[in-house]
């Protein structure tokens, strides 16, 4: 077997992996990057928060994204099944933006097949050794349980051993690395089994925009629309002048979506049409034959770092994409990981104790999106209640501005949880009804985080 040696190996060349490679190279460390895919490749997740502009600058790709064919977004609309709408646009003058000392008022809606390539090419141009169609087969541990290398099947089907001091796993939701090291908690334990959701993303042309823009002279063409519903929520993300991503996240208990269908596209189309507003929006629209579906959404690693490894982006944590957290977490955790990795290389200390500083910071950071996701999933399941919430937001522009500030990462996500609880109390008070809640068990999820933080501080 061929044996190679690299100080740092990155598994995965997507957004997390390429960003990690760029940052390592900026620090004079040349990593090996392997990926099972041949780039460019498709992936779900199109929302890039304004806060990510900072990372784009640091990674040296800001201008290319800014001048590229990517839709800028700075507005959010929430739409109820009845057609009631609440709309907000980023405005740093508003109190919800807390002093407004921010630079970027816009984020992007991006086609990942193109967007991820910017990072991939940047890493390559800086000298990263990126090997596509290379699959991770196994990990090598020494007698102390420390990671000392990986086994890879290369693009010629040859098995190669790569000895290394540090593996940075950026291989996403279905990470082989995580499964080999048994890093994933059983879904049932972390999410009470009910986070086993699935997501479907479709592309449409020639949509009927009328239901979304009527009575709103300020409607911006880049507006992200969210459609909370029962047992699922839908998104509407414009990507180009005549190309929009529409998709949904649904509980896995919504089974057999293809039952009675020969045509998958028609099944997806009918699922989207279940929402009365979206039904009007896609009526007569052209659906492209480019659908991506994911299943069993949601996981959190028991460990995000250990002796000889760090897990970055989706490989460590993945949640319902309701809050467009995927790319933010990938970019943020990659930055954290490189800070720790560079120091580890300088000190030549790749021990679990040293690398675990990464995990500590990562988990603290996660509390923010997790709060929102939890609150969102817990409360937004009852159509009557969704109508109440959207009408409340529509009647109280400052509350809707807060939603925007939170979604675009300019306000703390705990404010979303607080708002949700206040609205929940108002609903019970006004209607005497208790919204039907799906026990999505984010309470256990949160407890899991707290337990981990406790156990870390105890050590």
């Amino acid at each position: 077997m061929k044996i190679e040696k690299y100080d740092v190996v990155i598994v995965g060349a997507g957004l997390a992996g390429s960003s990690t490679a760029i940052r390592l190279l900026q620090n004079g460390i040349k990593p090996l990057v392997i990926d099972k895919a041949k780039f460019p490749r498709e992936i779900v997740g199109e929302g890039l928060s304004p806060i990510c502009n900072v990372y784009l600058k640091e990674l040296g790709v800001y201008d290319e994204i800014y001048n590229g064919n990517y839709f800028k977004k700075n507005s959010l609309q929430i739409v109820a099944p009845s057609g009631a709408k609440a709309y907000t646009q980023v405005d740093f003058e508003k109190a919800e933006y807390q002093g407004g000392n921010h630079t970027y008022t816009w984020g992007y809606n991006v086609k990942r097949i193109d967007f991820d390539m910017v990072f991939f090419n940047k890493a390559k141009s800086l000298g990263a050794d990126i090997r596509e169609e290379h699959t991770l087969r196994d990990v090598i541990l020494n007698e102390k349980g420390e990671l000392t290398g990986i086994i890879v099947k290369d693009n010629q089907n040859e098995v190669v051993q790569i000895n290394t001091k540090l593996v940075i796993d950026c291989s996403g939701r279905s990470s082989v690395f995580a499964s080999k090291l048994e890093l994933r908690d059983k879904l049932d334990q972390v999410f009470d089994g009910q986070w086993a959701n699935f997501a479907v993303r479709c592309y449409f042309e020639n949509l009927n925009m009328e239901p979304l823009i009527k009575d709103n002279r300020n409607y911006h063409k880049g507006t992200v629309n969210m459609f909370p519903s029962s047992d699922c929520w839908y998104w509407f993300i414009p990507l180009e002048d005549n190309l929009t991503s529409i998709g949904f996240v649904a509980r896995s208990k919504v089974n057999d979506i293809f039952d009675g269908y020969d045509d998958k596209l028609q099944a997806y189309r009918d699922l989207i049409s279940r929402h009365p507003v979206l039904k009007e929006v896609i009526k007569g629209a052209n659906m492209l034959d480019s659908v991506v579906a994911t299943s069993r959404l949601g996981h959190m690693n028991k460990q995000m770092s250990g002796p000889g490894y760090l897990c970055v982006g989706d490989s460590a944590f993945f949640a319902d994409p309701a809050w467009a957290t995927g790319m933010t977490i990938a970019l943020k955790s990659s930055k954290l990981a490189v800070e720790v990795a560079v120091e580890a290389c300088n000190k030549q200390d790749f021990s679990g104790e040293f690398l675990n500083r990464y995990e500590e910071v990562y988990r603290t950071f996660l509390e923010n999106p997790v709060n929102s996701i939890r609150a969102y999933n817990y409360y937004y399941n009852d159509i009557d209640y969704v109508e109440f919430l959207v009408n409340r937001l529509s009647d109280n522009p400052s509350e809707m501005d807060l939603m925007g500030a939170i979604l675009f990462d300019y306000a703390s996500h705990t404010q979303f949880r607080d708002w949700t609880y206040r609205a929940y109390k108002a609903y019970v008070k006004e209607t005497g009804k208790i919204p039907q809640m799906d026990k999505v068990s984010q309470f256990d999820f949160e407890k899991g985080i707290n337990n981990t933080i406790e156990s870390l501080t105890r050590v």
Partner: protein, 82 residues
């Protein structure tokens, strides 16, 4: 301990929890064991809020385990207002 507040809290609990036995409610009683669940919980919170003119966050509500916790929370919230 504030006996009047205890009695008022007991009244609210009795009002919203059908299965509750009024005489069994003690200061250290566990609310879950008394029959407080995720459904009647919100009605109790609302009644407490209007009775004592306080506002609970979700986190506050989630951290209440015993009758005593509830009373302590009301007092601390009232103190915050004063």
């Amino acid at each position: 301990m504030n006996e009047q507040m205890f009695n008022e809290v007991v009244e609210i609990l009795v009002q919203h929890v059908d299965t509750i036995n009024k005489d069994s409610i003690k200061l250290d009683s566990d609310l879950k064991e008394l029959g407080v669940d995720s459904l009647n919980n919100i009605k109790i919170v609302l009644s407490i809020e209007s009775k004592f003119d306080v506002e609970f966050s979700e986190e506050d509500a989630a951290n209440i385990q015993t009758v005593n916790d509830l009373i302590k929370l009301i007092i601390s919230k009232q103190g915050a207002l004063a």
